[in-house]
């Protein structure tokens, strides 16, 4: 067990820090949170800078246009960019964390050539068309159908929770290609251009008031068969590759940020006098222990995937379960620190508190995570 970084890893960190120190002051001002075209330009501008500096697709394999960095280097990258206050992945989230890795793992050489470089360069935005009104936790129950017509699929259906749909160029879409097959075996994965006729987007307003998600109506949208990644009806397996990426290192930067928020909460409580409450101090201390352990668990998971060469496994589900609850606890405690100030939407902690409510739902609810842990890790029998 070794928590010290190698000379090579430290050199990587030093070079990255130096670059961040140079590039961050040159960034344009952050756009208004509700200005989606502005946010796209800003996020993609950051991706372009990463690309030019050789940090785009850091952990992607070299044959997919990535840098082939080790999981530890990727961890350092996420830690350092967060510490330096660099922009988040933003609109490029689906491209870099879902669609891109799926194409890299399952796509043909031609598909990789067509779609991966524009993601890495920050030229094209992807969104995700997975969930449907009647297919949430039971994603495989999805009903959006794709009927083959020559060398095209004709797609009709209704998707929901499509993130960044308003500004996306492409959608990674799950469709039913074989209605009579068992539900997991009749699904295909398609890349759909968002400007195709028949695609209608309606912004979905979340309880936080924001519109990063949308509903997407598909009315006889034509997509070339050549846009299918993986075999027809093998889309469920293809998708699972993507989802395990999501549970891997997606929250590294956020854990670093949460630990900083805890320190800020202590500082605020000292200022406004609530620090005198021993119950509050105890809560903050327990959160401090929890987030410190989540960081160690991340390092453990990264080292494990470095040793096995595999995608994040057991630790990913455990991390997701504990982190999502810890984050909600953190912002509930922030509200205690703020008192009446917790009702003021202009305070960033209040918005973060609202958005934290999605963490135990998105990317597999806590209940589904517990089923996964119980059945796949502990080997308990499947049931209802």
């Amino acid at each position: 067990m070794d928590l010290t970084y190698t000379e090579e890893e430290e050199a990587f960190r030093a070079k990255l820090r130096e670059w961040l120190g140079q590039v961050l002051p040159t960034l344009p001002p952050k756009p208004d949170p509700n200005d989606w075209p502005g946010r796209r330009t800003y996020d993609m501008g950051w991706q372009r800078r990463l690309y030019e500096a050789g940090y785009a697709g850091l952990h992607w394999p070299v044959d997919a246009g990535g840098q082939g960095a080790t999981p530890t280097q990727h961890l350092i990258f996420l830690e350092e960019t967060e510490r330096a206050g660099a922009p988040y992945v933003g609109a490029n989230f689906v491209g870099l964390l879902h669609a891109g890795p799926t194409i890299a793992a399952e796509g043909t050489a031609q598909q990789k050539q067509q779609w991966l470089p524009p993601i890495l360069r920050g030229d094209e935005v992807w969104c995700q068309g997975f969930s449907e009104p009647d297919a949430g936790s039971d994603l495989a129950a999805l009903r959006t159908k794709a009927v083959r017509d020559g060398d095209e699929y004709v797609i009709t259906g209704f998707k929901i929770w499509t993130s960044h749909a308003e500004v996306a160029d492409w959608c990674e879409l799950l469709v039913r290609t074989e209605p009579s097959a068992p539900k997991h075996r009749g699904i295909s994965w398609l890349a759909m251009p968002m400007d195709a006729p028949g695609v209608t987007i309606r912004p979905l307003r979340t309880l936080a008031g924001s519109t990063e998600f949308a509903e997407m109506f598909l009315d006889e949208v034509r997509v070339p068969v050549a846009n299918r990644v993986g075999e027809e009806n093998d889309g469920w397996r293809v998708t699972m590759v993507t989802l395990s990426f999501e549970r891997g290192t997606a929250f590294v930067g956020e854990v670093v940020a949460c630990r900083r928020t805890l320190t800020a909460l202590a500082g605020e409580a000292r200022k406004n006098g609530r620090w005198d409450d021993p119950a509050l101090r105890r809560k903050l201390a327990l959160l401090s222990a929890e987030f410190a352990a989540l960081w160690r668990l991340t390092q453990w998971n990264v080292s494990e995937s470095e040793a096995t060469g595999g995608v994040p496994g057991i630790g990913g589900s455990v991390f997701k379960l504990r982190y999502s609850h810890a984050r909600q606890e953190l912002y509930d405690t922030a509200a205690e620190v703020l008192g009446a100030g917790a009702l003021d939407l202009d305070h960033e902690w209040v918005l973060d508190r609202l958005s934290s409510l999605s963490y135990t739902i998105a990317a597999g609810t806590s209940q589904i995570q517990q089923n996964i842990i119980a059945e796949r890790i502990l080997g308990l029998p499947k049931g209802r």
Binding site: M1, T263, W275, S288, A292, L294, S303, L321
Partner: protein, 294 residues
């Protein structure tokens, strides 16, 4: 960075698990419960021969020359097996109290207001305890005899906290396994109770608690940092107590019997939770550090 067990560490862990499976199986555990206050001296010497106590002593001094991470793995195994005795005090006394290193002498040490195994031990490390300074306690844990001190001792070495956390981790992992095994075997309503989500989710939370505590305990062993040890102790205490409670719940009525082993884990976890620094003082320590960092 490589935050995983090395092959040598795995072998050490496996070796101790096998030694304890052979020398301290369930029958031995239940026999120990029936003769409270008595230590198996032959087993103590075998532990000594296996390097349990001399593990961190330099090789030049007759020790094994390993460090806190390796010691943590051994204490984790001891916690899994519910191995009785003042293991940590004797381990820390190796090289200080003659005979501690090879297991020929049993050493205990006062810890705050309590001292474990006072009558059975051959020696007391640290401050001398005078006649009349202690009063026996009717211990809640049948496998940990306790005395109360009229004058509480100073808070011990942080290694007491670290190794206690490791024992708690081992216990949490074991009660998780016990719950999963029972949930897979016990049938009600015509199905294994482990197929019901209400039971499944208890088990999943047990694993999550244990694995998070594992990351904290192992990291604290590597860094030796006081804040890391404090965090690890809090998480491991919570994991051991909570997992034992959930394991008891999964066992239903059986869990409330003397015959089931669950209560032995819960009671020992309660004893270990009181060791080193109180929970309140640990949280105050971490709270103060948050302010200092800010």
């Amino acid at each position: 960075m490589h935050f995983q067990l090395t092959d040598d560490q795995r072998a050490l862990q496996q070796g101790m698990r096998e030694l304890l499976a052979g020398r301290f199986d369930r029958d031995a555990l239940r026999a120990a419960v029936e003769r409270p206050g008595t230590l198996d001296r032959a087993l103590w010497r075998e532990l000594g021969e296996a390097g349990f106590f001399a593990l961190r002593l330099p090789e030049d001094d007759g020790g094994v020359g390993l460090g806190a991470p390796e010691a943590v793995l051994l204490f984790e195994e001891a916690g899994r097996a519910l191995l009785p005795g003042p293991l940590i005090a004797t381990h820390l006394a190796a090289g200080v109290v003659k005979g501690a290193a090879d297991g020929s002498v049993v050493v205990t040490q006062a810890d705050g207001p309590l001292i474990e195994w006072y009558e059975a031990a051959d020696a007391v490390a640290g401050e001398e305890i005078t006649d009349g300074a202690t009063v026996p306690v009717r211990s809640v844990d049948p496998l940990t005899p306790l005395h109360r001190l009229h004058e509480p001792a100073a808070a011990g070495d942080p290694l007491v906290g670290l190794f206690t956390a490791a024992e708690q981790l081992g216990s949490a992992a074991r009660t998780t396994e016990m719950a999963v095994q029972y949930a897979g075997e016990r049938e009600q309503f015509g199905a294994a109770i482990g197929s019901f989500q209400a039971v499944k989710h208890l088990c999943a939370q047990m694993l999550a608690r244990t694995e998070l505590a594992r990351a904290a305990v192992y990291a604290a062993a590597v860094t030796g940092d006081l804040a890391d040890i404090a965090s690890a102790k809090l998480l491991a205490d919570e994991a051991a107590v909570r997992c034992a409670r959930d394991c008891l719940q999964v066992h239903g009525g059986m869990g409330f019997t003397w015959e089931a082993d669950v209560h032995l884990h819960l009671k020992r976890a309660w004893v270990r939770k009181e060791r080193w620094v109180s929970q309140g003082a640990l949280t105050e320590l971490l709270a103060e550090l948050l302010v200092e960092v800010g």
